[in-house]
Subunit: 341 residues, 4 copies
């Protein structure tokens, strides 16, 4: 684009939509948020009023059809993502879409085809790539500080499980929770997974098992380049939101620890202790949401490569599907087995 | 005040003025920045344009005289602070003023008298009180986690000295740099200093000594309640901005370490290492600037006590004056000795 | 036993034999080392002379037949362990034996039968159980500090691979290296493994692959009580001997980090760093060798339960055999599959 | 000396004498402990029996007069040190003597004169120099890792005060406790103190004040080479034995933290915590006692320079005397003022 500022429309002003809206309005000088839509028009008006947005709609098509809008930010429920991507692509809008694109590869492939035909840019909202800790590990690998990767660990635990009603429609732990870690694994190694083995258990809450899901998992990944990786998931770490990675390479290792609200350490007659890690994903990853959106705006305005592509979005879903099959059949599953599903 | 939103005018849009301006415009819902002034009108227009401010002036009196403005934020050079406080007080505006109020107790007392007569609220910009690390130590003391304080350490080192031209007009290390630590010492202990002993040296750059100043100091504080404290200052810590405190009390200790840009630790064949602490005071203390301004806005709107008062601003300057005398005469100086100077 | 001191004979004075010899001679008051044997008589004389031992033999049967010896410490090569255990049991000696008992379950079962028939005590040299870090994790589990275990991580990496000649006769990474971690997994969880899945790779040195072995592995463990665990092994962590564990439980988590030669942290213009972890297993685990031997001496003298039994020694070997099969067949292997092999 | 082994006699088998005795007997191959004396002959026999020592005496003169003894280790009460040094020097024995040499410079000078006349070697028991943490800081300075020193912190706090009866005869906090830190300050900087300022308080226990002593102190040191240093002492840190130092130099900083019994960190719903630091000086500094004694034995056998000399022992006492005067007169005291006292 030749423009110096990108006009954006925001579709959906739920929790994550509000964050993107505020960032686009106040904290990204090259961005201009000009329109908002939400089926809940009152909520759209409330958010739009606070951010000083002129155009507020209940129907997102009004944004798709607005010639002044260069790009849309899709924060609707997951089952709308693929359709909206296709419509936005047809309208020639660049797209930032929250993950996952869809829960089947068939739907994803249809959406990505539309994007490719339209020649527009699509970025998927894997915000953790833009977190300072994980980005530092990626740089350590890219710049040779740890040499060639051999082993990868991802520990990703929630402070507590979501409501059972959510669990039931979540698509299961591998598509709902591990999906972030699958993307992180591909991001850090810069490679694709060839085979996956998922061990799972219900340890946190029997109701999760009754709903047909798992709350505890260890997923082994074999990458094409020979790296071995493991993802550790739990729906409940009582001490907070536990988000760590670790890489061992031929020349060294890189280890991420959690973010805490302060660095103060208190020693008393009993222990040496500090406050718990940040407990809420929005606090923990707030900066990363800003950085990812800046990256999207820059990539569109500068016609530069998108940092998280549709291919990345697809790969994470494919891994989620493969993990589920591996768990169900208790055997290693090759990624090629689930192609086209 | 009965208002739900506070109208503010910003005087001075240098480095710190810009930060306050952005926070007031975008990040403090109860605040409304309505006017900006700066002797550099072009700069004021540039900042005001970006923030969407209607009223932009070269002469700050236009803000003092504006009946729609409830409070002013004074970010002008130090030698204007006292006069502006007096004028704002006379105009009935509440005041947030950057530190120090002035460099003599006489000027400060005159300004504080004006504030008291006018019955308006004055907050001094000791932002570090609002930092999450130091605030946690203060809470550890208030809530009895460390018992009654016995010993206090403050380590406060800059990543590098300012230009010699600045040093020459800075008022000296004790009023320019240690002043923050004097306030921190009073904040943490909740007490006043009775006697001070300052040891100083020129270790970083002989030119600082030639300019009549010091670049390295150890200041011993004896508090009224019997606590002993020491402040360690250096104009140059090559590893970054070093900002730590430590308290020993009858029931435990609290220790603050530095803030780093990420938590990633890299081990290679040579060492186990991490990236340097945040190097720039604006990065390190960005959150604290926001929290202090929110606190000011809340205190005015809710007619609640101001968290950093004129008395606090005065005490830190008195300590700076006493420290300089102690250094010059190489003896402990009681604070009562420098009263009225 | 009614004795107040235990008379011991030491069989084999290689690297680990020397350590046990010194501990028994000088640092365990309830122990008295009275005899040493080694096929290398010169070496036996050299060690025995330094420790002031009266009886020094080339043939270990002289120790087995010595009525004044209550217990033998077997530090011979692995392929002698089972036979020596049987002979010592037949002679009524209590036995401390280095790991592994043997490399087949058949041999192990024969030796354990002999021990049971003789009614003597047998302790296997899984010294890591006696390390202060891991013992603290075990206590955290036993005392409920972390609640019921859900997930277990063991990271166990050597600073560099042994010579290829050693690799060829080592029994493979799972029996040579992971065996310690199998025991640690059982120790920490207090439970047995039901199923195992081993992913392996040759990442460190192709020559290791040519010798038919692996140098990098991720082993997934499913315990009978539902805990999921993973063991991460590498023959080469350039930053040193990497020995960590981590447990997540229903009430919290416990994480072990490495031991360093000092706590000094150095910050310069480049990084904040510390010296590498202890690099040599003998430095890292020296204390644990002393504690395990004290525990053996105490258990015999006080007729108390042995802390690491023959059953423990057998279970670790069974896991090594199962891991190898899992790797070769690339599928999860149930432990019951390899019984009797 | 041409000998390959040093014959030593140990005078006094109290707490520290026992430690040295065990090290000399078992853990220093170049040393041979041949005789022990203690006015409590039963205790001497008990220790000597355990260590297998042939010669056990009530009167230490028997050791002084024994021609087979090359060196004596003086672990008697402080008021005997100077006399014993003189006698041992006269007998041509090399001397390891616990600190302090004496509590007056006059006595010390007399003893050091005797040593010089006799041409024997004298090492003073400032064991902390041989601790791995502090030694690492010293090396960081010597090897230029932190550049030229600017600022020094020593934090040295006991887990609890000794009995009041001990306080009364201890010589006061500066000679009893700070003396170790004075030596550490000189060791780390490699320089002498020119002026000292001591602030003190009674915060821990009023009974200590009633006994004429202090329990809390902050001592400022000005070194000849311009370095500024501060020592923080407390008789009571409830969280354990707190032993840290920190140096800021022109090229970086070095910071020591405490030693803990394990590295395990436990996170639960309340905090992230670890076990308290080692609580007892004998646990904390056990290794340093061994290293210092090895250094003494090596220096004598190899006719190499003694690492902690009589001059070092004298300097620490001089600083203790000066600190007390500074506290009493509440003014900085130059070291030259207390010469000859």
């Amino acid at each position: 684009m030749k423009n110096t500022q990108l006009n954006l429309g925001l579709i959906g002003v739920g929790r994550i939509g509000k964050v993107h809206g505020e960032h686009l309005s106040y904290r990204i000088p090259r961005a201009k948020l000009t329109a908002i839509s939400d089926v809940n028009l009152e909520e759209a008006k409330s958010v739009g009023g606070r951010l000083g947005i002129g155009k507020i709609e209940a129907d997102y098509h009004a944004l798709m059809n607005d010639p002044d809008i260069d790009a849309v930010v899709i924060c609707s429920p997951t089952d709308m993502h693929a359709t909206m991507i296709e419509e936005a692509a047809a309208a020639g809008k660049h797209i930032f879409c929250e993950k996952p694109i869809a829960r089947t590869l068939r739907e994803i492939d249809k959406a990505l085809d539309a994007v490719e035909r339209a020649g527009i840019k699509l970025q998927i909202g894997f915000n953790r790539r833009f977190d300072a800790n994980f980005d530092r590990v990626r740089r350590a690998i890219l710049e040779g500080e740890v040499g060639e990767p051999h082993l990868l660990h991802i520990i990703s635990r929630d402070p507590g499980p979501p409501p059972i009603e959510y669990i039931k429609v979540s698509g299961g732990i591998f598509l709902d929770m591990t999906i972030h870690d699958f993307d992180m694994a591909r991001f850090l190694t810069g490679d694709d997974v060839e085979e996956i083995y998922a061990a799972g258990a219900v340890r946190v809450d029997p109701a999760i098992g009754e709903a047909g899901d798992l709350d505890t998992a260890l997923v082994t990944l074999k990458f094409k380049n020979g790296v071995l990786g493991v993802i550790d998931n739990s729906r409940k770490a009582v001490y907070g939101y536990d988000q760590r990675v670790e890489v061992l390479g031929s020349a060294g290792g890189a280890v991420v620890s959690n973010n805490h609200p302060n660095t103060t350490v208190i020693s008393d007659a009993t222990s040496v202790r500090r406050d718990l890690p940040l407990n809420f994903f929005m606090d923990r990853y707030l900066d990363s949401f800003l950085v990812e959106m800046k990256a999207f705006v820059d990539a569109v305005l500068d016609d530069a490569p998108i940092p998280v592509t549709g291919v990345d979005g697809r790969a994470a879903v494919a891994l989620g599907i493969a993990a589920r099959r591996s768990y169900e059949e208790n055997r290693p599953v090759r990624l090629e087995e689930i192609e086209g599903k």
